[in-house]
């Protein structure tokens, strides 16, 4: 019995230690922005823009496709059901709350995890295994400045931009869906805009921001934690991906809880 408790205790302590290390890593990475040497700013900005192109620009097509299909399906299916109970007016609120505020940030973040999170973990783990991270430290370049900061901020900015893109495309796709179902497009837009509050917009952007931090930090942390060799690279990618997905869902739940409180 004592052995079992000790085992549970050890596991919990190890998990908490990792969580603490992750939090410290994230704060140190954000804090390292202030210590970025003037000469390194241009290089870091160049990598940031490159990351933005890969994470945001190259992902626009995927986000448009996901958002368009999801919104079309949800609106097409629900408009009939709502019509049966005489609640068609709720379509605007449904669009704003379910698609734009809840599913939009989550699906955007999941797409980013699949595209960029995996790439970041694999790249940084490979950098570590090949001795490139050590070499950077040796030539006086903080890996947080060169590797972590541009990727982290690239993910944060991309997540916010792509969440907005997701929501705009979802509204437009909903317009097509209701038109297809015989409802006036003008009435649909009026209901959506009437349901959209400043709080909804702020919450959506806040979610994009928080999910962007998760997608940026976790893969970087896992990629740089590799120590043994190339066999750890797929494990780092897996840990980074799974951790990010779990983190996104936990934070989404926390947003709801905090909102209700």
């Amino acid at each position: 019995m004592l052995g079992l408790l000790a085992s549970i205790g050890r596991g919990t302590a190890r998990w908490l230690a990792r969580l603490g290390a992750l939090a410290r890593f994230a704060f140190e990475a954000l804090g390292s922005l202030a210590a970025l040497p003037p000469g390194g700013r241009r290089t870091t900005a160049r990598i940031f823009l490159n990351q933005l192109r890969f994470t945001a620009l190259d992902a626009v097509g995927l986000i448009v496709l996901l958002s368009g299909i999801l919104s079309f399906l949800v609106i097409s299916s629900s408009i009939r059901q709502l019509g049966d109970v005489g609640a068609t007016d709720l379509i605007g609120r449904l669009m704003v709350v379910i698609i734009a505020r809840e599913l939009g940030p989550i699906l955007t973040a999941l797409a980013l995890v699949g595209r960029s999170g995996t790439a970041i973990s694999a790249e940084l783990a490979t950098n570590t295994v090949l001795g490139e991270v050590r070499a950077l430290e040796a030539i006086g370049i903080d890996p947080q400045h060169y590797l972590v900061l541009p990727r982290l901020f690239g993910c944060i900015v991309s997540a916010v931009i792509l969440t907005v893109v997701f929501d705009v495309v979802a509204f437009l796709s909903g317009f097509l869906a209701v038109s297809n179902q015989g409802m006036s497009g003008g009435r649909y837009l009026g209901m959506v805009l009437g349901s959209l509050t400043t709080e909804d917009i702020a919450l959506t952007v806040a979610k994009g921001l928080v999910f962007g931090i998760i997608v940026g930090v976790l893969p970087c942390f896992q990629g740089l934690s590799v120590r043994q060799g190339p066999t750890e690279i797929p494990q780092a990618v897996m840990r980074g991906t799974v951790g990010s997905i779990v983190g996104i869902f936990i934070c989404a739940a926390l947003f709801v809880l905090v909102g209700q409180a």
């Binding site: 890593f25 040497p37 290089t43 490979t126 991270v133 070499a135 430290e137 040796a138 030539i139 740089l224």
Partner: protein, 247 residues
């Protein structure tokens, strides 16, 4: 006169490698306790203008010395000082600034694979506060010519051969014109002629007192042709540092 590099009682074997995650605090808690050290400890100094080599087989732990000197690896015993300062004892940010004053050529070159060899050489120049942006390209061109990289400078490490990669790694190490260059296994897989050429570049030319730069080399051996260019050479035999004569 303060030696440029000084090892005092550094054990050679089983040093713990530092990682970024380790610095974040996680690795330290995840690693098993440090095993006992079973070797003699190394004490030696490298003065200005000197070229010193410490060689030994792979199991001798000689390859750890460079990492300990740079504060990249942790030694449970002894101290390593560069320019009279123990890098490992500095704040993290100070460590990075301090290391820009030292040239370091790691084993396996450590070049970034997503950059060309020229961009690898530019990297410390761009991050070094002393160099203006307008000077970076010019300085990089001079160094590329100095190590005779030629057209290979436009290649990525995976496209270049071992000799070109080593030339680029040395060029990156001397980009900020350090007083001291630390080289790990710098000549493995190179011809004696190329090795001699690289050593001359690392020394940075000749002065009456010796090389313009001090050079500290670790590795399994030094090509016979180069030994006359090395002021002192020590071989690690069964945990003991034994002086090797050139004759």
């Amino acid at each position: 006169m303060t030696p440029l590099l000084e090892f005092e009682g550094i054990p050679l074997q089983r040093l713990r490698r530092r990682t970024l995650a380790g610095l974040a605090g996680w690795a330290a808690s995840a690693l098993p306790p440090e095993p006992p050290i079973e070797s003699d400890n190394v004490t030696l100094t490298v003065q200005a203008h000197e070229t010193v080599a410490v060689v030994g087989d792979e199991a001798s732990g000689v390859d750890n010395l460079g990492g300990v000197a740079m504060g990249l690896d942790h030694s449970p015993l002894g101290t390593a000082r560069v320019y009279g300062t123990e890098i490992a004892s500095l704040e993290r940010r100070e460590q990075f600034a301090f290391r820009r004053r030292i040239g370091y050529l790691p084993a396996g070159d450590g070049l970034l694979h997503n950059l060309t060899l020229r961009d690898n050489i530019r990297l410390p120049l761009e991050f070094g506060n002393e160099v203006r942006p307008s000077e970076v390209a010019g300085r990089a061109d001079v160094i590329v010519a100095q190590v005779r990289l030629g057209k290979a400078a436009g290649l990525r490490p995976a496209q270049a051969n071992e000799e070109e990669r080593r030339r680029a790694a040395l060029a990156r190490a001397i980009a900020l014109d350090p007083e001291l260059v630390i080289m790990e296994q710098p000549f493995d897989g190179l011809t004696d002629r190329v090795a001699a050429e690289l050593l001359e570049v690392a020394r940075g030319g000749e002065l009456a007192q010796g090389g313009r730069r001090a050079v500290f080399i670790t590795g399994q051996d030094i090509p016979v042709l180069l030994r006359p260019r090395v002021d002192r050479m020590l071989r690690i035999v069964q945990g003991r540092a034994v002086p090797v004569s050139h004759s």
